[in-house]
Subunit: 277 residues, 2 copies
């Protein structure tokens, strides 16, 4: 692991790091905020998964999580959204596929399967790296994310309920297997057989019996992706049927940007801190 | 005035606007945050002046001012740092002069005098535009800034003490007329006669009798520009001699970045709000 930069912030350290990823077969960059409390021993870890087109940097720059994370004593880990670099298959002019659009899946189709293994990267390789290099209490983890990263957080929590104490999302893609901006990506990463997509679709994972105790979801009413891409009512239906507690808050007048995310960041950090103990 | 974008944030509106500037003889872009309290009538205005290489966007993205400005009921205006565009004289490879480096002066030397009139822009043209287009109580204004913009805030407050209720700065350039990264710019904008530079140097303005009741200044101890470029001890000496109240806080381990600024943003907003009434 290589330190790209560190900078003191709110009494803690905001760092950027890179490493040669085995899962993604390329160099990967990620951001970690370590709060001041970590001087006295390991602290809980909150994972933030970003949306389409983002890198580790967007939420680090615009998410406004450090003030309260420093107060609550949380490590915040912000991974990249896809493998990147020369030799990594991509569709340069398509912001919904390839670089910046890993969708947190393990691709099975070539040429993407060689690098696009974000599910393994986020659930196995990066946690091991965090555990080895940061003052992290890995017995206390939580996960949240935005849009494509909200989809990532929900699906990863449903598949690893023993690992995460809590899960929340800002404007998540509720049903990626039928939404226009995600369905073509799932087909290219996972193949034409839709059965394989179910492992990466929140509503279908719930339909197939996966469970998580409760979710917090905020959604802006002025979000231009609400009707076609996000559709939180599908998550609401699935949770109701399954008896999963869903706190779904429609936020009047908010869009899909980091102005929305940063407005409700404090609420989400407190939600997780209360459940991380 | 043209609206470039608006986005709801913390109950208020973060907007970006552009207009044809007469002072700078080019199109200028600026950001304004209007807090929710403005629905009930005009609210105070806090000006934030940015540092070298910045546009209006840096503090808007990374400054983390909206949460508390929305609570305190402050309009935050974030101007650009220089004129820009085709036909505007520039030194493309010099980050300390030209685009992004207006130093808040009215240039007198050609070809720069045609556009680089940031002092008039910030103190006359933009305030008139704000007064005409936003729910701003122009009888209650305050000003702050970072680095080159800290220099801008201090000099503008000293020359307009009747207009501003308060002034603060993050890591300001205390004496630009002798610092390596600003002296060449003052010479190119204002000519070789150093007497003309005194009107844009905080320590020399104080020496020449300009006064302001008190300043709050935060400075990071790990700021790589501290020794050569910023030198807050020169401001301390000048204020002590003149009997100006200076709260100068050396902040252990902080650098020159927005991680430093955002850490102490709340303190500065509260400082200004208390004095704006």
């Amino acid at each position: 692991m290589k330190t790209v930069s560190t900078s003191k912030s709110h009494g803690g350290i905001q760092g950027v790091y890179s490493h040669a990823s085995e899962a993604c077969a390329c160099d990967m960059t990620f951001a970690v905020f370590v709060p001041p409390q970590a001087k006295n021993g390991p602290v809980p870890v909150l994972w933030y998964l970003s949306g389409l087109t983002c890198t580790h940097a967007n939420v680090m720059d615009k998410g406004e999580y450090r003030r309260l994370a420093a107060e609550l004593g949380l490590i915040i880990v912000c991974p990249d959204t896809s493998p990147r670099g020369e030799g990594v298959a991509d569709e340069k002019d398509n912001w919904q596929f390839g670089s910046g659009a890993g969708f947190y899946v393990d691709a099975t189709q070539q040429p993407f399967a060689a690098n696009y293994r974000m599910y393994s990267y986020i659930t196995e390789e990066l946690p091991a790296l965090i555990a080895a290099n940061f003052p992290a209490d890995m017995s206390r983890q939580a996960i949240f994310g935005h849009s494509m990263g909200g989809h990532g957080a929900l699906t990863i929590a449903l598949k690893n309920p023993e690992r995460f104490k809590s899960c929340s999302a800002f404007a998540p893609i509720a049903q990626p297997s039928t939404a226009g901006w995600s369905k073509p990506a799932l087909e290219k990463y996972l193949g034409a057989d839709e059965a394989a997509w179910r492992a990466y679709d929140t509503t279908l994972l719930i339909e197939d019996g996966k469970r998580f105790p409760e979710f917090l979801v905020d959604q802006g009413s002025a979000d231009s992706f609400l009707q076609e891409g996000l559709r939180p009512w599908l998550l609401d239906e699935a949770c109701k049927k399954a008896g999963i507690g869903l706190t779904l808050r429609m936020q009047d007048g908010y869009d899909h940007s980091y102005n929305f995310i940063s407005t409700f960041m404090d609420d989400h950090l407190r939600w997780h801190a209360a459940r991380l103990g």
